[in-house]
Symmetry: C2
Subunit: 409 residues, 2 copies
C-alpha cells in the first residue's frame, strides 16, 4: 500500500477510504448543489451491515441528523447518502420530509428498505434542498457505484475543505485480516460534541452491534470530539459506521482481545481523520497539538485542553509565532476547572517557557522556531495528578476571517 504507516500492529494507508473494506461500493457525483464540484455521495454495503453512529449535541439538529438517529435505532443499515452545499438545517417540516425522501428514493433504487439508509447533509443552513437536483444526483450515484468509488465519495462531501480526507487500516482479528476505511470533511463550525462535521466509516469485520457502538463512541470521544477549528458546534455533525462482516472473522464482542485490537485500529483511523480536519481547518497553516498532563482527572485534562484549543488569542499567537504562553495559562484558567497556577509548567515544542506558573528565561528564538513548524506541540503540565488528555486545533489566520466573512453570499 502506498504511503503506509505502521501504527501499533496495523497499517494505515491514505490512498483508500470507505471502499477499502470488502463488500462496500461508493460513488460521488455532481448534482448541481455546488457550482462545479461533486456534491452527492453514496456508500453502500453489498450485504446487510451492523451500524453505529454519534450525533451533534446542538439543540438545533439538522433534519438528516434526526432521521439518521431514528434509522440507527435498529442497529442496522446498508447505505449512507450524503450531500454537500446545503445542510438541510432549519428547514422545518419540509426539511425532515426532504431528508426522508432522500432515504426513501435511495432505498427504492437500491432495492433495500428506507430504514436501512442513513442520510447526511452539510453546507448552508436555512435553505430548502432543491430536491429535483438531489434526486437526479442520487440516481447518478446509484449508477456510478463501484468498489473504487471511495475517492469520488470523499470528494462529494467537501464544502470549504481544500482536500479530501480518507484513510484505511488493515489488521488481524483472530487471525483473519480485516479492514476499516473512513472519510471525513471539516472545515469550519468545528468544535464537535459527540461527532465532527461528517465522518463515515466502513469495516468488513463482523462486529456485535453493542460493541460497535461502544467502540465508535469511545474513539470519537478521544479524536473527533477533541478537535476545534473555531469553537462553533455544528447542527449537522455526525459520524456513521457500517460493519458488514465480509471478512468472515468471528464476530467481535466487547471485552475480547479482538475488541481491543479493533478499537485501537478504529481509534488510529479516527485520529488520522480528525487531525486531517484540523490541518485543513478554514485558513489554517498549522496543526496544533495541545497536551495537558498532570491533571487530577481525565475530565479536567480534557476540559482544559479543549479550552486552550478554542482560544482565539492562543490561535492568533501561534499564527504570529509569538511565544505568548500567558494566553495559554489564561485559557486554562477560564476552563472552569480548579487548579493551582503556581504548579503549572508549559512547553512550546521542547522549550520550557514557564514553570510554577511563572516565566522562565527561555530561548525566544528556539520558542519561535517551535511555533514555526507545520505541527506545533504545546504541553501544559498542571502538576496536580496523573491524568492527561490531548486536543487538536489550528492557528487562526486572516484567511479564516476572509472565508467566513463571505461564505454564504
Amino acid at each position: 500500500m502506498k504511503s503506509a504507516e505502521h501504527l501499533a500492529g496495523h497499517y494505515l494507508t491514505t490512498d483508500r477510504g470507505v471502499t477499502a473494506p470488502r463488500g462496500f461500493l461508493a460513488a460521488g457525483v455532481h448534482a448541481g448543489l455546488k457550482r462545479k464540484r461533486k456534491d452527492v455521495a453514496l456508500i453502500v454495503s453489498q450485504t446487510p451491515a451492523v451500524a453505529a453512529g454519534t450525533f451533534t449535541t446542538n439543540q438545533v439538529k439538522a433534519a438528516p441528523v434526526v432521521l439518521s438517529a431514528e434509522h440507527l435505532k435498529a442497529g442496522q443499515a446498508r447505505a449512507i447518502v450524503a450531500n454537500s452545499g446545503n445542510a438541510n438545517a432549519c428547514n422545518g417540516e419540509r426539511g425532515y420530509a426532504d431528508a426522508r425522501r432522500m432515504a426513501e428514493y435511495t432505498a427504492e433504487l437500491l432495492g433495500i428498505r428506507t430504514e436501512e439508509v442513513l442520510v447526511a447533509s452539510t453546507g448552508v443552513i436555512g435553505l430548502p434542498l432543491p430536491m429535483d437536483k438531489v434526486e437526479a444526483g442520487i440516481r447518478s450515484a446509484c449508477q456510478a457505484l463501484s468498489p473504487s468509488g471511495g475517492d469520488d465519495a470523499a470528494e462529494a462531501i467537501l464544502t470549504t475543505d481544500t482536500r479530501t480526507k480518507q484513510a484505511a487500516v488493515e489488521f488481524d482479528v483472530d487471525g483473519v485480516p480485516v479492514r476499516i476505511g473512513g472519510m471525513a470533511k471539516g472545515s469550519g463550525m468545528i468544535h464537535p460534541n459527540m461527532a465532527t462535521m461528517l465522518a463515515f466509516l466502513t469495516t468488513d469485520a463482523a462486529a456485535d452491534p453493542v460493541f460497535l457502538q461502544e467502540a465508535l463512541t469511545r474513539a470519537v470521544d478521544e479524536t473527533f470530539n477533541m478537535i476545534s477549528v473555531d469553537g462553533d458546534t455544528s447542527t449537522n455533525d455526525m459520524v456513521l459506521m457500517l460493519a458488514n462482516g465480509q471478512a468472515d472473522n468471528p464476530t467481535v464482542m466487547s471485552g475480547s482481545p479482538a475488541a481491543e485490537r479493533f478499537s485501537a485500529a478504529l481509534r488510529a483511523l479516527c485520529l488520522y481523520l480528525a487531525k486531517e480536519i484540523v490541518r485543513d481547518g478554514e485558513g489554517a497553516t498549522k496543526l496544533v497539538e495541545i497536551a495537558v498532563c498532570g491533571a487530577p482527572s481525565t475530565a479536567a485534562a480534557r476540559t482544559i485542553a479543549r479550552s486552550i484549543s478554542a482560544s482565539n488569542l492562543v490561535k492568533t499567537a501561534i499564527f504570529g509565532q509569538d511565544a505568548n504562553w500567558g494566553r495559554i495559562l489564561a485559557a486554562a484558567g477560564y476552563a472552569g476547572v480548579p487548579f493551582e497556577p503556581e504548579k503549572v509548567t508549559i512547553y512550546l515544542g521542547d522549550v520550557r517557557v514557564a514553570e510554577r506558573g511563572s516565566a522562565l528565561a527561555f530561548d525566544e528564538e528556539a520558542a519561535a522556531r517551535a511555533l514555526g513548524e507545520k505541527e506545533v506541540r504545546i504541553t501544559v503540565d498542571l502538576g496536580a495528578g496523573d491524568y492527561a488528555a490531548t486536543a487538536w486545533t489550528c492557528d487562526m489566520t486572516y484567511d479564516y476571517v476572509k472565508i467566513n466573512a463571505s461564505y454564504r453570499t
Copy 2:
C-alpha cells in the same frame, strides 16, 4: 455639559470621567512601561471613601487582583493605582510583592494606609514589573494629581485600545445633586466573568458599603459581564468603585427610592463604558447588540445571548455583511440551554429573516443594509417565555488577527 445625553432622569456626559464627582483627583503619566504612551494612572479621594469591586473568575488571577480583593475586604479605600503595558500576572511571589509595593509606595507618598490603596495592572502576562520605572511613575503621578486629571488617567490604562473610554452621570438623590464618574479599558481578552478588563468608578454620593457592593455587582452583571470581544476571559479583569460622600446626600441604603435612582444611573454609566469597550474591540468596525427574548428564564436568555456573542462565525458574517442567520441559530443551539428551534424568530435589524426556526423569503438587500450599520442589532425570540437579556459584541475582522498575531513581540 458637552455631548450630554438624557438618560431616564440623569445626564450622561462623555467629556469627563473619574474626576467629575467632587473630591476626586487623578493623574496619568508616562513611566516607560510602554514606549511612548502614558502608563501609570492614579485616582485619589481627598477623604476616606466606601469601596466596592468585582474581579475576574479566571483560576489564574494576576497579583493585583489578589491584593485588591484583600484590601477591599474592609469596604474602604482612598486610592486606585494602575499601570498598563504589563499585567503583573503569572509572576509568582515576586508578582504579589510588587503589587503590594505599589500599594505601599503610593500610600507612603499620599500619607494614607497601604490597605486603602487598590492596585490594577493590564498588559503582557508573565513579565516581571520593572519596579524602578513603576515607582518613578507613582512619584510623578502623585505630583501630577489634579481635579482635572481624569483624562490623563483614562489614557494611562489603555493597551491596544485606540481611544479613552470615560463618562460621568449627574442626578439627584433625595434632592441633592450627585455624580458618578468612570473610565474603562478593553480591548482584547474580553469575555468577562465578574468584571471587564479594567473599569474604575468614582462617586461623591454617600453610600452604604453593603448597598454599594450590591449595586455594583448588579450593574456589572448586566453590562460588563454581557460583552465579548473574543471569548477570552482575562486574568486581570476588575471593576473598582469609590464613594466619598462629598455630595453630602443622606447615605444611600438598599431598598430606598434613592437606591433605585443611584442604581439606574450606575447601570447607565457602566453600560456606556461596556459598549465603548466593544466598539473599540480589537479590529472591530461594528458594535453588535444581541437581544434574546421569549426565554424561559433570565439565566437562559443570558447564556444564549452570550453564546451568540462569542461565535466567531457570527462575528465574521457580520463583518462580511452576510445575512447568515443559520449561524446565529446554531450558536444559540450549542449554548447548553434547551429550547425548541421550531419556535424561534430571528431579526437582523428590523428585518425578520427566520420564523419558527425556518427561513423566510426576506429582502436580502435590506438585511445586508442592517448589517452594514455601525450598530447592528440582532433579535432572537425563543417563543418560550417572558424573560430577556442583551449581550454586546463586535465584528471579527482581519485586524483582530493582525493585532493578536504580533501583540507581544
